[in-house]
Amino acid sequence: MNARDPVELARAALLGVAPDLAGERIEPDTPFRDQFDFDSMDFMHFVAGLAKTTGLDIPERDYPRLQSLRDCARYLEEHGWRAA
């Protein structure tokens, strides 16, 4: 088990792609695409950031499960991350 808040991990990966979102409220259930005009390039960088900080190899077929902050937290929990 990894004692790091999955929501914070996902939030950090998001800010890595869009630093201008720092301090802004992120709606947990709204897809990034709708919330921040994310395109496929942004999303690719987001997944790459998440893969780097977690060490997970995130296959493309899992991308649909990473569309919102809550989606990501759930995905990371399934892969062993828990808030400390």
Binding site: A18, P19, D20, R33, F36, D37, D39, S40, M41, M44, H45, V47, A48, L50, A51, K52, D57, I58, P59, E60, R61
Partner: protein, 372 residues
Amino acid sequence: MPALGADMEAGTLVEWLKRPGERIARGDPVAVVETQKGAIEIESFQPGVLAEIRVDVGRRVPVGEVLALIRGEDEAAAPARAAARPMAPPALPGVRISPAARRLAEAEGIDVAALHPGADGNIGLAEVEAARAARPFAPAPTARTPAERGLDLVAMRQAIAAAMARSQREIPHYFVGSTLELSTLLAWLEHVNAARPPAARLLYLVPLLKAMARALAAVPELNGHFVDGRFVRAEAVHIGVAVALRGGGLIAPAIHGVDRLDLDALMAKLDDLVLRVRGGRLRGSELADPTITVSNLGERTADALLPVIYPPQVAIVGCGQIAPRPWAVDGALAVRPAMTITVAGDHRVSDGRSAARFLARVGELLQAPEAL
């Protein structure tokens, strides 16, 4: 004041980055100019010493006006123009420059006053082309985007509106579309990407752009510019890729020589371009010289678009989202991923048949993505 695209008429000088007497290396940013596409850093094409500043901070300056004089390293007396690239008619008496040549010089940021006339005593396209080939350093003004430099989105909207209104007024558009079945492409991409870490994966836009660039070889009448009443075919394929800015607005800077890039190099260029549109710097040539534009709506958007040509280009390609569609396979119904691609063409240059040929060729090439 350089022209960065057909729609730019003037820019406001917001900062001098060098002082008179300061030494300048080739490529050094000399001044910052505010345009409708953001703040652009104007770089020097040649080394020397900044001899004289001619424009004060805060002044709005028409394209072509001299901003400053840069004296070459070994020129004691005669100052050479560098930071400034006047588009005004040459001062030389008796020398004429053709409108097409002037337009090309403007697009390339070449100082027409410094051109040598041809054998007939006039300056034509050949003389401008020669100057372009001989230029030691491509102009590389750079731009930063909204968040960093406070881009005026109202001004950008006006620039888009002006270009599109001109397009609708001057270009007799036709539209031709096809829906392409993409299961082969997507299966191949999935296979290639499965072996790569997320940061090294290819987006489907990459093989799509490459297929389009190669297909243009068969339909050169879609790749080029319409200037001074005639079509000037482009030898290279510089695809303008429409990139949306967060918060509104759109820029379509070029990826150069797409037909000659392998997929990984193209992905790297695309990545770099999107990054610089969003938060970094654009180069002047990227804004000024696309030979065709591609507008890709992207995932989870809409099925099709009828794009509007960006003058002086003569075609634009619009890609809808990829979505599962009912598809006839061997007389039975199957579900396949498909994308509707629409080409807008310029009837002054080509007919719908050209666009149909282009789309058929793109479809063929995408059936063998490994060969792209």
